[in-house]
């Protein structure tokens, strides 16, 4: 309780307050509020990823698998059985959590790049399956959610602002989960695993169980983001929802550029990268094919080279953020 009003907390509150007030200043049906909603959604996705990637240092490049499982589960349940996506969202989270648990058994023995490659392969397999099971998933054509006007019980709204509020709520919830994990007993164990697995085991940490718990929670939250994304965009296909560059790498990149393992990292990273990508697209895509992606890539590399610990490192160096641990655990 001592740190209730620490500057890090104040900054966090300020961020959420600004995010809550933003729709009042924007056209509720305009493009800018969509971009703002995407910033928050990607922040929530990156925060979900941060639980395994940041706290346990298991760099997954396959989180699109869980994102897509969430989107497909809720959408198929709705289209085929008429189940509201609110329930589908929960089912999707369970399916993704189960998939993460199954994936953990063979992959947790792998370290570093090998773990990253195995998760990457898993997402690719999911993409191929979704493309080939045309009868169930609609195959490469993808799935569309019919426009039904405003039906809150069916997770359908007319204004973008409604989705914006839901996404903001989701981000707050994911950040709360991250904070609880990071500052609780499991946070100690995850950090121990991240820093020295053998020493953690000898000190009594069940490293497999700790990593498994983190993976399942992370995958379930990512699946919830997938459902919200599907409802928000009304359409998705296997190549976009299971995309390596569009989803998996972007989730990791936002957390890394923002600050791996910190509560603020995914927020700062999304706030920096998503608008940057928008601007690069708007300004450069008419100039030459691929120029905007090129510029975006150059900026990304620059950001990592200049500050490998992420943008949060600048905040943590200020006199307001006294200890790096306080911020790392969101205190």
């Amino acid at each position: 309780m001592r740190n209730l009003f620490s500057p890090s907390r104040a900054a966090l509150l300020l961020f959420f307050l600004a995010a809550a007030l933003l729709p009042l200043a924007l056209d509720p049906r305009g493009h800018l509020i969509r971009v703002a909603a995407m910033v928050l959604l990607f922040a929530a996705m990156a925060q979900s990823w941060n639980i395994v990637g940041g706290l346990a240092n298991q760099i997954s490049l396959g989180h699109a698998a869980f994102f897509g499982l969430g989107a497909y589960t809720s959408t198929l349940l709705f289209l085929k059985l008429g189940v509201t996506p609110w329930i589908g969202m929960g089912v999707g989270a369970v399916v993704a959590g189960g998939a993460a648990a199954l994936l953990s058994i063979p992959t947790f023995r792998l370290k570093g790049h090998y773990f990253a490659l195995a998760t990457l392969a898993f997402a690719e397999v999911m993409r191929v399956i979704a493309n080939s099971l045309g009868d169930v998933t609609g195959g490469p054509v993808g799935l569309s959610i019919p426009f039904m006007g405003s039906q809150p019980a069916l997770f359908a709204f007319r204004s973008v602002a409604s989705y914006y509020w839901i996404i903001l709520g989701l981000l707050v919830a994911v950040c709360a989960v991250f904070h609880l994990l990071a500052s609780g007993a499991i946070g100690y164990r995850l950090r121990a695993v991240r820093e020295n697995e053998a020493a953690a085991e000898v000190a009594g940490v069940d490293t497999f169980r700790v990593k498994l718990t983190a993976s399942v929670i992370s995958a379930a939250l990512t699946a919830v983001c997938g459902t919200v994304f599907a409802q928000f965009t009304f359409f998705f296909d296997p190549d976009s929802i299971f995309s390596l560059s569009g989803i998996s790498v972007r989730m990791a990149m936002i957390a890394i550029v923002g600050g791996l393992g910190t509560l603020g990292g995914p927020l700062v990273g999304a706030l920096f990268l998503i608008p940057l990508e928008e601007v690069a697209n708007a300004v450069l895509s008419s100039q030459a094919a691929g120029l905007s992606q090129f510029a975006f890539g150059v900026i990304l590399i620059g950001a990592i080279l200049i500050q490998p610990r992420g943008l949060m490192a600048y905040w943590l160096r200020t006199p307001w953020a006294k200890t790096r641990r306080a911020a790392a655990t969101g205190a």
Partner: protein
């Protein structure tokens, strides 16, 4: 009386190399046993095999009548045996207290673990550096924090891998006093140490290993005078000269 720790003919093989070759010994509650032998004799491998970090090729390890070989290290720790690492394998991004708290979580909830960490830190005189980052510690401090972390798991058998390596004689006396106090509480120690002064002063019994084999088991004086031990340390022929001098 049944020994607290009993190793029966344990072997660890890496490819064709027998790092630990049929070693058997026992350790009683409240006993301090030193494990000596030249570099590469297999001391650290033996430690790793006992706590479950290194799978045994053959043989059995019993801890208070329970078979612990084949168990993961965290299960061995729960049953009451843990070790320290030769080069202080602390969690570098945590404070001293957080390192110790992590280990105390084995038997307590977070609040209880923090209290346990405070108790252990006080016992080892580490309270003044409780909030320090481990990256800022000196090597002797790291070794002590490593010992504190191991003690926070509330072991009955503690394997210490060169905790006194970089200590001054005064610091060494302090650590030995702590070890003796814990011994009085019934804790059993298996100690790898290169400081002969510490080993001779501290240990009730010595085990000497060379090329993975146990070559002597006895009181410090017996083992120090053992011809094979002298040969292992000083080379072939030294034992004979030693005997001629005697």
């Amino acid at each position: 009386m049944q020994p607290l720790l009993q190793a029966d003919a344990i072997c660890v093989t890496f490819g064709g190399l027998k790092a630990v070759d049929g070693v058997s010994f026992s350790l009683n509650a409240g006993e301090i046993v030193g494990l000596i032998g030249p570099n590469g004799a297999g001391k650290t491998t033996l430690f790793n095999a006992l706590v479950g970090l290194q799978p045994l090729t053959s043989g059995t390890v019993w801890l208070d009548g329970e078979r612990v070989c084949g168990l993961k290290p965290h299960k061995v720790a729960r049953l009451g045996m843990t070790k320290t690492f030769q080069n202080a394998a602390l969690f570098p991004d945590m404070s001293v207290k957080e390192n110790v708290t992590t280990a105390a979580l084995l038997r307590h909830d977070l609040k209880g673990a923090r209290a346990k960490a405070d108790t252990v830190l006080r016992k080892l005189d580490l309270t003044p550096i409780a909030d320090a980052d481990v990256a800022d510690l000196t090597f002797p401090q790291k070794a002590l924090v490593e010992m504190a972390r191991a003690l926070a798991t509330e072991p009955r058998v503690l394997l210490l891998d060169e905790v006194m390596a970089a200590l001054t004689p005064a610091e060494m006396d302090e650590v030995m006093a702590v070890i003796r106090a814990l011994k009085a509480e019934g804790l059993a120690f298996l100690v790898v140490e290169h400081h002969m002064r510490a080993i001779m002063a501290l240990c009730d019994r010595l085990l000497a290993v060379n090329f993975g084999r146990l070559i002597a088991d006895g009181t410090p004086a017996q083992v120090a005078a053992h011809p094979q031990v002298i040969e292992a340390y000083l080379g072939h022929g030294a034992a004979g000269k030693e005997a001629a001098h005697a």
